[in-house]
Each structure stands twice: as structure tokens, then as C-alpha cells.
């Protein structure tokens, strides 16, 4: 028995983006980049740890929009095209390149992409979710679900719709994993009553909040965030440890900003002439990131002054940083264990996409951290949140505080002058959906039933927190605004057609193909 636990939690989420109407769609690349740079490298490293006999534990969320995209044939075929185009581009570049540093980097990327693609094709049998399932079955991973479309539940005005978000999240998980999820990631860790009651109703045992969600709980917990609390409904709430997050989160102060690590913002696609790159980019001639980035951060210098990436040097830094992270957690846990009556727990949640996509060396950092803790630490062991509950079921009873893990700790990231136009519409279409369920208890034919189910999908997609987030942070603003409007308008179009009994079947079929999330969804789930 070690002195305390480290629980790393990775939250894997992307908004549902699928555009079958176009052969190439730039925003679909978010998924292909996350698969290539984060999900596959992480799973590959975790398989390696397992095969080495390293006992590591990790909690990972897999949100319903992401899992639905990972199971979509069209998107997965396009992912194969994405990765193979990049392998072909590297082969092409290697034929002409004379610079030794560039060649070295191109070879590194080519080998890496080939390895990952073979892992995807052969080990995972072309299905990334198989990797999550396998590691969960082997006892290394606790996969948890999320609300249906990552809605910020405290911003939802209808209690029934808050329930549907949880119920669909649980149902989606059951259909994929064949069992109920023990934990849930609340979109943006956003909490307000009556969410605890709803989680208990759908059999969810635990979730994760930001530190102040626990510290400002009623009553304020005795152990702060070093142990979870349980609400009167019996739901367990774990708190994010700010110290354990800070070293990894911050691009400036944290490890990812080390000058030896790969530079995110300099992609080779912008340095190759239009003619040579033509067949590898968008047919309309747009250049978008290839993910092949061969420079290091170097220092506080402009992109033109960046030096070439040295993979070996970067991996040396990974070892140093993983060692430093373990050392700091050991000191933290050593002290806590000297004053607490139970083994302290440090919960460190991160966006999965931070590891690999944003911080290129992130998957190797995690693997190195797990290896070091298992082989050398006499103070800490890693644990999943489910395991913690099983081992230490006695908890302080306290009602968690309203909070989120967004900037400022509450909801201003999603509710502000630039985004508040969204919420009256969401409330209105939510009310319409509840009325549809009441007034169309039995659909008069298959077509009407299809339209009602599609209304339910469009409502849930409109409720994704992603669109408001992107608008606020100024990233892909036009696309996010258009998607937010599209889902609201598509709902209203179908709603009016159902009421007028004049359903446009061609457009409905188009929506069914495009917004094909939750194929199992039955609109009657909104029945109050």
C-alpha cells in the first residue's frame, strides 16, 4: 500500500461534425487530427505499457458526439484518406529533400504515421473504440460517458431536457460498451442543482468538478479536494487539483512550452510551393495544416526563426518532465498523508487532445510518467476513480457548489454578449420538443416518426456547448455560428412541417445522413 493516489482523467471530446455533401470539408479535419495526433498515439503508448507489464490506471471520458463519429463509416473512410495522403506527401518530400535535418524529420513522421496506421488497421481492426474497450477489459482504463452533446446543464432551462442529456449519454455508452457507465463527465464540468439528483436517477455513481465545486460545497469539505465528497443523493464528486493541473495546462509556465518541444504553429504545408502540394490539399486550393511540423518551439522568436525539431532531445525532456511531475506529486502526497486519516487522492483532469495534438510529446510524457510511478515510486500509485470509490467508500456528505472548469470558474465563457442570443432559441425549441412529444404520442406513419426523431437529434446538436465556446474564444467563429443557427433552424423547419403535415422527405433524408448521431434515438425519450 502506497501513501496516496494519483488519478489522471482524460476528457475526450469533439463536436459532431460531418459533411457528406462535400468531398472535403475543412472542419472534419478536427477529428482526423485528433485521431492521428492524440487518440492513436495515446492508445499505442498504453498498449505498449500493458505489454511491458506496467500497472497503470487511468480514467477517460469518451463523449457521445466523439464516439458516434468514431463509429461512422464515412468519417472513418475519410480518416484513412487523410492519413494516407500525409504518408504519400512525406514519401514525395523524401524523394526530393537534400537537407539532412529536414530528411531526418520527414523520416520520423513517415515511420510514425505508418506505425499508427498499422496499429489502427491491424490491432484496433479499424475501430478506435476497440482500443478503449480492450484497455477497459484489461483493467487499465475506466471509460466514462458524458452528457449527450456536452451541453452546459446549468444553462438549460428545462429540467426534462437536462435529464435527457444524461439519459442519452448513459444509453449511448451502454450500446457501445454493453454495460452502464460508472462515471460521467459533465460538459465543461458544469454543475448546478438538480444535476446530482438526475445523475442518481440514471445510476451514475460519480463525476468530476473544478476545485471550487468542492471547496465551496455545503458544508465545505474537511479534506478540501484531497478526498471526494458524496451528495445526499449518493453521487460522488471528485475535485480537480489545481497544482497537479498547472504544470501541464499552462502553455507558458507548463511543460508543453519547453523550447525543445515541437512547435504547433509552423506547418510545412505553408512552406511548400502550390504546385508541389496541389494533390495533397483541399481540391479548391486551400492549404490546411498537414500536421507535419518539423520545427521546435526554439524560444520567444518569430516563426521564421524556429529551428529544426530534434526528436531525441524532445524525448530527453519528456523524461525530465515526467520525473519532475512525479517528484512534485510525491512531495504533495507525502505531506497530505502525514496529516490525513486516509490516503490522499490527487485528481488531475485534462482534455485528451492536449496530449499529442497541442502538446506533441504529451502521449510519451504520460507513458513515461506511468512507467516511472510503477517502477520507482514508493509513495504514489495511479488509480481510476471507480477503483477509489470501491477502496474508500466512506466519504463526507456535502452538496457540491455551482461551478464549471471554464475561465472564471462559472458560465461566462458560454453566456456573454456574443453568445446570449443562443439561449432563448434553445429554450424555445426545447419547449417545442416537449410539446411534440406530448401531442404526437403515436406517430401517424413512418415518415412522421422519422421527422420527430430527427427533431430530437437537431435539438440535442443545437445544445452542444462547443459552438458558444468557439465563438467566445474567437476560433472558427463563422463555422460555429453557422452550425449553431443551422441546428436551431433545422429543428424549426422539421417542427413546422410536422405540424403542417407536409414533411419534405428529401431534406429529411439529407439530415438523417448528415446529422446521423444517435441512430437509436426515439423522440419519446422527451416524454415528461
Amino acid at each position: 500500500m502506497k501513501k496516496g493516489y494519483l488519478a489522471i482523467v482524460l476528457h475526450s471530446h469533439l463536436p459532431f461534425v460531418k459533411h457528406p455533401e462535400e468531398e472535403f470539408f475543412i472542419e472534419e479535419n478536427w477529428l482526423y487530427e485528433a485521431i492521428t495526433e492524440s487518440y492513436l498515439p495515446l492508445l499505442y503508448n498504453f498498449y505498449k505499457l500493458r505489454d511491458e507489464g506496467v500497472q497503470f490506471r487511468l480514467t477517460m471520458s469518451l463523449t457521445p458526439p466523439l464516439s458516434n463519429m468514431l463509429l461512422d463509416d464515412l468519417l472513418m473512410n475519410r480518416f484513412k484518406r487523410y492519413i494516407n495522403l500525409r504518408i504519400a506527401l512525406l514519401e514525395d518530400l523524401l524523394k526530393k529533400e537534400t537537407n539532412a535535418k529536414k530528411t531526418e524529420n520527414y523520416i520520423f513522421y513517415k515511420e510514425r504515421l505508418n506505425t499508427l496506421y498499422n496499429f489502427f488497421k491491424n490491432t484496433l481492426k479499424g475501430n478506435i473504440i476497440n482500443g478503449f474497450k480492450q484497455l477497459q477489459n484489461d483493467g487499465f482504463l475506466d471509460v466514462i460517458t458524458c452528457t449527450a452533446t456536452h451541453e452546459i446543464l446549468p444553462l438549460e432551462t428545462h429540467r426534462k431536457i437536462q435529464e435527457v442529456q444524461v439519459e442519452v449519454g448513459v444509453e449511448n455508452y451502454k450500446r457501445i460498451f454493453g454495460k452502464s457507465p460508472r462515471g460521467i463527465w459533465l460538459g465543461e464540468c458544469a454543475y448546478a442543482p438538480p444535476v446530482s439528483e438526475i445523475l442518481a436517477k440514471y445510476g451514475v455513481e460519480y463525476t468530476i468538478l473544478d476545485a471550487h465545486g468542492l471547496i465551496n460545497a455545503k458544508p465545505s469539505p474537511f479534506y478540501g479536494i484531497s478526498a471526494p465528497i458524496a451528495s445526499k443523493d449518493g453521487v460522488v464528486f471528485f475535485g480537480r487539483d489545481p497544482e497537479a493541473s498547472k504544470q501541464v495546462w499552462s502553455a507558458k509556465e507548463g511543460y508543453p512550452g519547453d523550447f525543445n518541444y515541437r512547435e504547433f504553429y509552423k506547418d510545412i504545408v505553408y512552406e511548400i510551393d502550390d504546385k508541389s502540394i496541389k494533390k495533397y490539399i483541399h481540391p479548391a486550393g486551400f492549404k490546411v495544416d498537414s500536421g507535419i511540423k518539423i520545427h521546435k518551439i526554439t524560444g520567444n522568436v518569430g516563426l521564421d526563426k524556429k529551428e529544426f525539431y530534434d526528436r531525441n532531445k524532445a524525448l530527453e525532456m519528456v523524461e525530465t518532465h515526467a520525473g519532475n511531475y512525479m517528484f512534485n506529486r510525491e512531495k504533495q502526497i507525502e505531506y497530505l498523508s502525514s496529516i490525513m486519516d486516509r490516503p490522499p487522492l490527487v485528481v488531475a483532469p485534462f482534455d485528451t487532445e492536449l496530449f499529442g495534438h497541442w502538446w506533441f510529446e504529451g502521449p510519451e510524457f504520460l507513458a513515461s510518467l506511468f512507467r516511472k510511478i510503477y517502477n520507482y515510486s514508493e509513495v504514489i500509485e495511479t488509480i481510476t476513480l471507480s477503483e477509489y470509490i470501491d477502496k474508500h467508500p466512506v466519504m463526507q456528505i456535502s452538496e457540491p457548489a455551482i461551478s464549471s472548469w471554464g475561465d472564471g470558474g462559472y458560465f461566462k465563457v458560454w453566456l456573454n454578449d456574443n453568445t446570449d442570443w443562443v439561449y432563448p432559441h434553445l429554450s424555445a425549441i426545447g419547449k417545442r420538443m416537449l410539446n411534440l412529444t406530448k401531442n404526437f404520442k403515436t406517430p401517424k406513419n413512418k415518415l412522421q416518426e422519422r421527422a420527430l426523431n430527427m427533431c430530437a437529434r437537431e435539438l440535442l446538436l443545437a445544445e452542444s456547448s462547443d459552438w458558444a465556446f468557439l465563438i467566445t474564444v474567437g476560433s472558427a467563429v463563422n463555422y460555429a455560428t453557422e452550425m449553431q443557427k443551422f441546428h436551431i433552424n433545422a429543428f424549426n423547419k422539421l417542427y413546422n412541417e410536422i405540424l403542417e403535415d407536409n414533411i419534405d422527405e428529401v431534406f429529411l433524408a439529407y439530415l438523417e445522413e448528415k446529422d446521423s448521431i444517435f441512430p437509436f434515438l426515439d423522440y419519446k425519450i422527451f416524454n415528461e
Binding site: 465545505s220 479534506y223 489545481p242 502553455a251 466512506v394 463526507q396 455551482i402 458560465f411 465556446f469 445522413e513
Partner: protein, 199 residues
Amino acid sequence: MENLNKLKRKELLRIAKLHGIKNRNKMKKEDLIKAIKKARKSLEEIKTIEEKLRKELSEKTGEPHLIAIPKEPGYAFINWESEKSGAGILKVYEDKHEKFAIPVNLEQGKSYVKVEEDRVVKAVLGVDENGKFKKIMESNEIIIPTTKKTEGKVEFRDVRTLKKEMPGKTKKKEMEKVVEEEMKTAKELKYLRYKKEGE
């Protein structure tokens, strides 16, 4: 637009499905191509509808409502739309007591209202009728987030049985110091999502 002749049958079937072409699975490759070409016209029409749905959204929802949403400690967002027009009054209640009333346009509006932390807040929209307030509609109730710590009785239970349990010995003062430190670090932690800001 891609050359249909170069596509494999599987890909043609996908496009045919997108176009809602019936009996597509029974068609030969050349028949599929013909059917897709014919249906393409309707895809263009669909794209026109889609373009409209992406770009235009009326400011009004068409659904009378008065909603309250918590924003942050001390602030709530209120939004309303009614079938009536003219001068109205918006009353804001805290823990069932009227906190303030402001003149508003009945037809439509929004306001970020300043309220106390940790209170149950509700809004009511109405009109003045001969010196008396007449309610038109009321909002949902919300709780305003708080930044304050609440002291209270410490109680432990086993989450499996909900049976009361006694905790062991913890150094209280040292623990309080740790919690204080944790809150300080949490406040300092700049929230970063590694998105390409400003892109």
C-alpha cells in the same frame, strides 16, 4: 464535383443514399451514375436550403417566454419575449422577496441583473394596471453561484450503504491551510484550452 465514373460502387452507393435514391442497392454501376446525375439537381436545391438555414436566424424565437439563467456569482441572465407590446415591468425576486423592478419593453428584451450570491432568483414580467401590477408570465427559478465557503456539521457515510461512519484522526489546522493554498492556486490557474485563439 468528382468524376462519378472513377468512383467505386461502394462510394456511388453512399452518394446515392445521400440523394435518397430508391432501389439503389439493386442498380448496376452505370444506372447508379445516371440516377445520381439526375438527383444532383435536387442536391443543389438542398444545399441552397442548407445555406439559408446556416445563415439566417430571426432574432425572435416566436415562442413567448421569460427565462432566467445563472451566469456567475452575483449575476443572472434574463430574457423575454411576449405577444404583448408597449411598456412593461420586470420584477426580480430573491428567495421569494422582490429585489427590484425595472421598466422594460414587453415585446422582447434581455438583461444581466445583479443579484446576491447563493439566492434563489426568479423574474416576473407584467404591466401596471391602474397602479396595480398584473403578471403576464414568470420565469424558471435558478440558484446564483457563490464564492463563499459554508461551515457546517461534518458527517461521513459509506456510499454503498449510506450508513453513518466515523472518520479517523486528521490534523485539522494543517488541513485547513492546505485547502486555503489549494484555493489560491486554483484562482491563479489561468484557464487554457490550447485552441488556436484568434484564428
